[in-house]
């Protein structure tokens, strides 16, 4: 039903029934349709990963087509929070770059003939990258390889027979969408008879600690890293025939579990194959690789 006449400036009342084809007041213009059948938010993916799978299409769909909707916005809040913030003032975000980790609620808002219509809320989780994502990144592998090279270089026989581990945190800056590393932390110098370790500090705080869902980005600690050491000059200091296991220790696994991160350990490839170990006197420069600790596949998504 056309209530007030339909020209370019007058509108139907919000309660008018849909009659898009109705002509009235002698004009040739159709009445506006002010009663939507349905307003919904289309979310292309409900599970995203920072940096590696962060793009998602969002669209507010108004049915039927032809309903006079305007003043769109797409909003987000943490599932654990109550405050909405605006992601977009458009009906459609062809590419929403998810840059904040968390479990979120999304909704669309459309104004139809002066009345706001909110869509049902959609769940979206933005998770941290997994071990394979992190160790597959070229910037990360470059940084870790450099740390390994430095660890090997520091293992000397003379003038002092010594070696030490080093470690740092792998961080993801979602503003630049690039990985970074924290300052290097060193273990103590170790004599050839002694075991080595590094007292890597507790997981560095995120910056900001709890970012707003609409923030432009944040920096997260997503993995620990530390190197193990060479056996090149240890043979005389340990029992004949002794070998050293490769990969993370039980203590490494425990620490990464506590810190809720995947742990990356740089160590030699076992030799011989199938032994799970390397001999004493294993030459520096031998094949090495990254190992995953038994901590976590990825850091837990915040609520």
């Amino acid at each position: 039903m056309c209530v007030t006449g339909c020209d370019a400036t007058k509108q139907d009342s919000p309660g008018a029934k849909p009659d898009a084809g109705t002509k009235c007041d002698g004009t040739a213009k159709p009445c506006k349709n002010c009663t939507p059948g349905n307003v919904s938010l289309e979310v292309a993916k409900n599970l995203l990963t920072l940096k590696h799978d962060r793009d998602c299409r969002l669209n507010i769909k108004v049915d039927p087509a032809g309903v006079a909707a305007s003043a769109f916005r797409i909003e987000i809040r943490r599932a654990s929070g109550a405050t909405w913030c605006k992601l977009s003032s458009s009906q459609t975000m062809d590419t929403w770059h998810a840059v904040i980790a968390g479990k979120f609620k999304l909704r669309g808002v459309a104004t139809i003939c002066g009345t706001e219509h909110k869509t049902a809320e959609q769940d979206v989780e933005v998770q941290f990258p997994a071990y394979a994502d992190i160790t597959g990144d070229a910037d990360v592998t470059t940084a870790l390889s450099a740390a390994w090279t430095a660890t090997e270089a520091e293992c000397t026989e003379a003038p002092v027979n010594q070696r030490r581990e080093r470690g740092f945190w792998v961080r993801l800056n979602t503003s630049t969408n690039k990985y970074e590393t924290s300052a290097v932390e060193f273990g103590g110098w170790n004599a050839p008879a002694d075991g080595a370790g590094v007292n890597l500090s507790a997981r560095t705080a995120d910056a900001p600690a709890t970012p707003d869902p609409c923030a432009a980005g944040a920096t997260y600690s997503v993995a620990s890293f530390h190197s193990h050491t060479s056996t090149a000059f240890r043979a005389a200091a340990v029992p004949a025939g002794a070998t050293r296991g490769v990969g993370p220790s039980g203590a490494d696994n425990t620490a990464d579990t506590r810190d809720d991160v995947p742990g990356i350990v740089y160590d030699y490839v076992e030799s011989p194959a199938g032994s799970g170990s390397i001999p004493m006197g294993h030459p520096k420069g031998s094949a090495a690789q990254m190992y995953k600790s038994l901590g976590h596949e990825r850091r837990t998504t915040p609520p």
Partner: protein, 161 residues
Amino acid sequence: MITAGQALMIALAASVQQLGQQPAGNAFVELRDAIYWVSLIPATSAAPGAPKSGEAVLVKVDHDTGDAAAPGVAADGRRPERSPDVSSISIAAAYDHAIAALRGFDNYDKQARLSVVLRNDHYEVTFPPIVTAPVSRGIDYAYQVWVDAASGGIVKILVPS
């Protein structure tokens, strides 16, 4: 002040009635408040007074005097892996072989946690590291000696990174 290894031998001697002579199985020695708590879990329950499945004979040994309290029983699920139907060298023998393998290289904490664990085909005798400064990512042991459960031969000696 006795060592964890001495406490193990004292506990084995004190529990002959429960475990018989030269039992095979698992042993864990931990120092708490100047007392060694020695848990002994036999591979078989043939001896009279042997603990039931899921239990261990627990012997408390004074750290300073070596005096052993009367053995008790405590819940403990750390069962040996090796089938009880297959004969094995004893806990004491495995420990002795490991100590012999380390002769001249005793760079470990003799008062800290010691374990003798019977796997399917070998014992793992694990000696704790000397901890000068705690580290978050470090080593699990100073030495771990694998001893063949049948012959007593040394299978391997592991040292940490």
